[in-house]
Symmetry: C2
DNA sequence: AAGTTTCAGTCAACCGGTTTCCCTGGACGG
DNA sequence: CCGTCCAGGGAAACCGGTTGACTGAAACTT
């Protein structure tokens, strides 16, 4: 026979357990101030279980002013980086009794839509914002509201709500690897200006390049896309006036997509990977292993970023703000075929 | 000065407009059976606008049994195919006054979680299911419930709720292209058994290969991933007993990731693309243009699939079921560098 | 002119929870 | 033996919308 076709309500559970609505509500929400006999509690739980009771989220939101849901705003869904973050967030939210919803925020406009649909209509209790950037319309909106929120990955200076990774460390890791292979001229493909992790990565790159005493450490910026990476790579590989060899022997990119675009550009220039140019990308994702050649990457703790952001947001919602948080897991180098020692300066075929 | 810090409620709008709650509700919901003077309607709209009124979704859901939200269940977020579908769905939903939420359903377990969190707790009015497959737990769950839903991309036979693309046509398009280049032996890398579009694509491939009179049209199955494509490619390219040349001169894959994996495998076998083996992938996404060589693909109308699915679901919710729907837009060949005429049979270097 | 429609809106019940305050009965102290 | 106290639980007032029954006035009928 089919299951009960109608939803069980709180009152149904109450009736089945022989208690009142109030008691069921207290028991199921595990309130601390509860004065309920273990025996009664058991009956309530059994009745709820038997009836397959699930509270009506709307009713809860209405009565309790809490939806038990969060929303994660990410800048681009087709960037698999954010997918990993989203999975971490979803999982951790679930463990804490929240539902994590996903919203794409290409470039600000969608953020306001999402804000309206999700926050203003009380569908969520708080926001995880991965799409922040200077001048983002949402920042202004948020300053007028009391909605709990944290910024992840892309931080907002002085907000005290940033959850980030040790991005600077990723530059050090990548550079140490290339230096160890013998590279003394390394180019960096940075992300767009104004985006925090991109800036930090660039600064750390330049700083560490100085510390290592590299011969050259040029930087070019581009979108986090394949095209952005390709254009930046062409810029960095252009031989100096009068020269014929590219000024660098290795490239370190800010995103995986940039690395893919850079690799394509390198080949179009008639150069080989890794014989002529080594490439290191950021963020290790499955596709990196299947490129030609397989891409050496710096794996960032993306999943943990998602979980940490949820922890911080839930803490904020419960009035225990955490301040800025940095995920403790360190970036890890994943060695593959796109890096090798540089060619001998004079040894061109 | 900061905006009004407290939400405006329906009653606030009513008061501001000098009418009753009921009137405001009717006006704002644009009900057809409304008897409201244009003048009154204008006042209500102005008041709502001035107060920045947004209805409380929970209250609406409670009172009207309608949440104005849908959920899209997709099998893997890191498959950009589904991202395009999701964008189409989100946009169309918005146009129809719905909010489209995204949920990932790796392999069934998550589907039940989502079902509980979203449907059982009345957060959504209906489900767009892109993750169906035979034996999927959700199918059983759905049969016990009255939740409006449609299946997209992956269909469920006999459900009368399928929204699909002309997948068979994509095989024809790919095969015609390869045939036109001179290929007479083409291999097909299919998706896992039981997944509808995969099956249909395979059948269409075999059928059209027969119609064209190809010399050989072997098929191998694999996951929709890079690894799945790589393994299947190795299988299809294994020379016949005693032979040294691969039995096919071209490969046609079911997904973009498979094509990437296949390309890697082809190279590992010491073969060139497209000189030795041509490759055609399914679904055109930005990364295809940046592979080495750029990948020729069959572009499927993914965005339209998303919009059509929402149309069908909303129709179902409003008691106007549509029956199975096929998106009219035809697959389109995107010509790039991974396809060329086959090498001369005897012309090996 | 009185009765009937139609029009334009209002009233109030209800949706399914949460929460505050109040009630009750038994244990306990004096 | 009676008053107090408190653990255990219940009654009822919300939360913010939606909806159908109902009403008062204006416009038609005849």
């Amino acid at each position: 026979m089919p299951e009960q076709p109608v939803r069980a309500r709180l009152v149904d559970v109450a009736h089945a357990a022989g208690v009142s609505k109030a008691t069921v509500s207290k028991v199921l929400n595990g309130r601390e101030d509860l004065m309920v006999r273990p025996e009664t509690r058991r009956r309530v739980h059994e009745a709820a279980e038997a009836l397959g009771y699930r509270p009506h989220s709307g009713a809860r939101a209405l009565a309790g002013a809490s939806t038990h849901a969060l929303a994660l705003l990410i800048p681009a869904l087709d960037n698999p980086t954010y997918v990993t973050i989203a999975r971490g967030a979803y999982q951790r939210a679930r463990e804490l009794g929240y539902l994590s919803l996903l919203a794409e925020d290409f470039d600000g406009q969608e953020a306001d839509d999402s804000f309206n649909d999700l926050v203003q209509e009380s569908r969520v209790d708080g926001l995880l914002i991965a799409s922040a950037r200077p001048g983002h319309p949402l920042l202004e909106t948020l300053s007028h509201s009391r909605v709990p929120h944290v910024f992840l990955n892309r931080s907002v200076e002085g907000s005290g709500r940033n959850v980030t990774m040790d991005v600077a460390r990723s530059s050090v890791t990548a550079l140490d690897h290339l230096y160890g292979l013998g590279h003394r001229s390394v180019g960096h493909i940075a992300g767009p200006a104004g985006i925090t992790p991109s800036e930090v990565r660039k600064e750390a790159f330049l700083h560490h390049a100085g510390a290592l005493g590299l011969d050259a450490a040029p930087v070019a910026s581009g979108d986090f896309t394949e095209d952005g990476g390709g254009a930046a790579a062409r810029e960095l590989l252009r031989p100096a006036a009068g020269g014929t060899r590219p000024p660098v022997t290795a490239l370190y990119t800010s995103s995986l997509a940039q690395a893919i675009g850079a690799m394509a550009a390198i080949r179009e220039l008639g150069l080989r990977i890794p014989e002529d140019i080594s490439v290191v990308g950021n963020d290790d994702l499955p596709v990196a292993a299947h490129l030609h050649p397989p891409l050496t990457t710096v794996a960032m703790p993306l999943y943990e970023l998602g979980t940490a952001a949820v922890d911080a947001l839930v803490a904020t919602i419960e009035n225990r703000p955490t301040g800025d948080v940095v995920v403790p897991t360190e970036p890890r180098l994943v060695l593959r075929g796109s890096t090798a020692g540089p060619a001998e300066p004079g040894g061109t075929p």
